[in-house]
Amino acid sequence: MGRKLDPTRKEKRGPGRKARKQRGAEVELARFLPPEAEAGRKKLSSHARRRAAKRRLGVAGRTAPGGGRRPAVKEQGDPEKEGRPVKTVGQALQRQSGFNDDNAKWLIPAKGKKSLSKKTSVELSSSGEVEEDSWEMEEEEEDGSSEELMDDYGALSSEEEELLPIEKAALKQKADNGDLSEDDSEEDEVAEETSRQKTGQEEKEDADLQLNLEIDEEFKLPTDEQIEKETAEPPDLHVIHQRIKSNMEVLQNFGVKREEGRTRQEYLALLRRDMAAYYSYSDFLLKMLMDIFPLPELINFLEANEVPRPVTIRTNTLKTRRRDLAQALINRGVNLDPLGKWSKTGLVIYDSSVPIGATPEYLAGHYMLQGASSLLPVMALAPQENERILDMCCAPGGKTSYIAQLMKNTGMILANDSNAERLRSVVGNLHRLGVTNAVVSNCDGRQFPKVLGGFDRVLLDAPCSGTGVISKDPAIKTNKDEKDILRCAHLQKELLLSAIDSVNATSETGGYIVYCTCSITVEENEWVVDYALKKRNVRLVATGLDFGKEGFTRFKDRRFHPSLKSTRRFYPHTHNMDGFFIAKLKKFSNAIPKTQKDEEPAAAEATNPSADPETVTEPQAKKKKLEGSKIAQEQKKPQPALKNRHSLQGQRRPLKAVRPSPHKSHAPVPNRKKHRVKQNGQ
């Protein structure tokens, strides 16, 4: 709506006009509203204004407002009224007593907060308005005013002071509940805060509602007797949960909330124990998770692992389109939605009246049941038509079929997996989805490139500990320990080196390797990629995924190459998909760099075969299976002299990271620089 043209006030037009902004509604309205009486006073609510008006008018004005408010008074006070500060009541009293001495009769000084709060809760502001800011003094005043009055209905105002029996009962119940909730929160181990102290704190704080009273309590660590008692009894999950929350509160604000004489370690140890008990994790896994996540995020992560991720499907564009499929499924009674902006083929299933794995569309190969995070590595790989692609660990075939559909059944895909039983599902899926350009093989991934090499792109979805998919398999919480993680890391390093060697760096369209795992541990992700960066002529490139957390460039005592920032991590609690790690590498030279020379005597070097593939093939000759790997053989093979070498041969063994780390913290940086310079020369 335009403003009326006021010819008396013409706006100046010209180059300077735009600099002058419109003055706004207040200016316009000021023409209609009367000016404020006192400029210094803050804006008053309607009730306050009425009161102010009364004050101005004096006693005479009291007659009018008294009657109208009486029916409103009967309304029950609501809980918000209880949080009244004491101070303002005191002020009210003073002001009242100053105002009119007759008030002494009816004006009861504040005995305790409860009685006062009860009194205040009775009186509602007139016309049912609930104003948290309206202080008690209004009510007192109104009481005083109504004392002298008879209302229209002949009832005396003094009766209003007495609560109706039901109002009294309600107030009493409220008070009792308040006490009870305070009692519940006080447990043996948690501190003995008195309710008075708590309400005192409440009063001091803002009028914001503090529903969770436990926040204010002091958290005391349990004594040894309490711990013994607890271990003897079956664990009380509620108690543990409360303790976890309180412990987190303390740790968030440690300087302030800590108990004297207790270290942070003790709090952390208790928290770890409690979380292990509550969420059923092994202590090792929890320790590892605490290193990866900050504390509040850790809780989110643990909670997210208790809940399954949503079911997602991927449209098979070789046979249908996403909207046709969505239409067909909706007609069958499935509730679904597109997966997100980042995917053109994904659909998320909310609920379904028919089994999603058995619809005629599924049988016709129109879609594949696949986790959302499994779409990401193939999107990062970006296979082009008429390329040769290797999928090293392809079972059950979801990613392979996605690659095939992106390539439109051109070129060649070699789908390999070392587990013959799982390969059956690969074959089944590939046939069902109508993939014709795939060759399925059953080799150990480390045999590449001997079996076949010169691929344009390689996808390595390495076998891992599975810490990102705990929601699918809760057994992982307890059955993974350090040995498992290191064994997986070892295997992954070997596979990644083989994958890199299988790629042809001089391919026109390709030369990329995508390494991904469904794990969130640093040992299996960043460490493996960093190892590959040192061992081969590869570099990290952007994955092309614009969401997800960046990978770590440093972790505890390890330092990784700064380009690790281009890798991506996905978590169940932030992205609502399975935990995943994706790294995209580009091979820039087919030559394999020799291992680093350093101050070790030449004899040790001579005995050590320098080219990595040879050392890689040695263990392969002995090893047939990936599972049940014979780590003992692995450990014996590299010469003991290697222990002291900076070279990353030492990393291949599943040693504790602690031992070689003092070396490594210095070694990687100079080594890498050397590596860069001496690509082909050495």
Binding site: P360, M412, R424, V427, H431
Partner: protein, 186 residues
Amino acid sequence: RGGGRKTRGHWGNTEDGSDVVFPCSIGENIQLLVDRPDGTYCFRLHRDRVYYVSEKLLKGAASIPRDSLVALGTCFGKFTKTQKFRLSVTALDFLAPYAKYKVWVKPGSEQSFLYGNHVLKSGLGRITENTAQYQGVVVYSMADVPLGFGVAAKSTQDCRKVDPMAIVVFHQADVGEYVRNEDTLT
């Protein structure tokens, strides 16, 4: 036979097999399967299974050791111990467009066929004219989605005369097997 057909088994044997099978359902159209616009395809025998692959794919997979090779392109079927050829449902996508004799099944008995049952007269929607008895057919749903293979139990004329509970199509292979018999597909 055209150029470049490579097989490791007896090509003659396979040819006999396909003489039995392919003429049943698609007849002379087999040539269309082999000489495709995007390159020559061929059949390769590997461990008693017949695979349909393009030549490019065959070349690419040549160096994989025999024991490690599991599957190649699309499996069309397998030879049983007595050297009879059994067509597998995985060939459906390729044979369906060339099928000469088709049978359409009503929606109600779609599910029954997908469970492996034969098609009764009551479930028969349409059938191509001039279907002989014991002729190989491709079974479709009313929405023209191929469901599987079968053998006509009655000729078209007989189908009209027979009572609703009689079998008209013997079940041979259906897409439900992807879920039911996942293991046997390899």
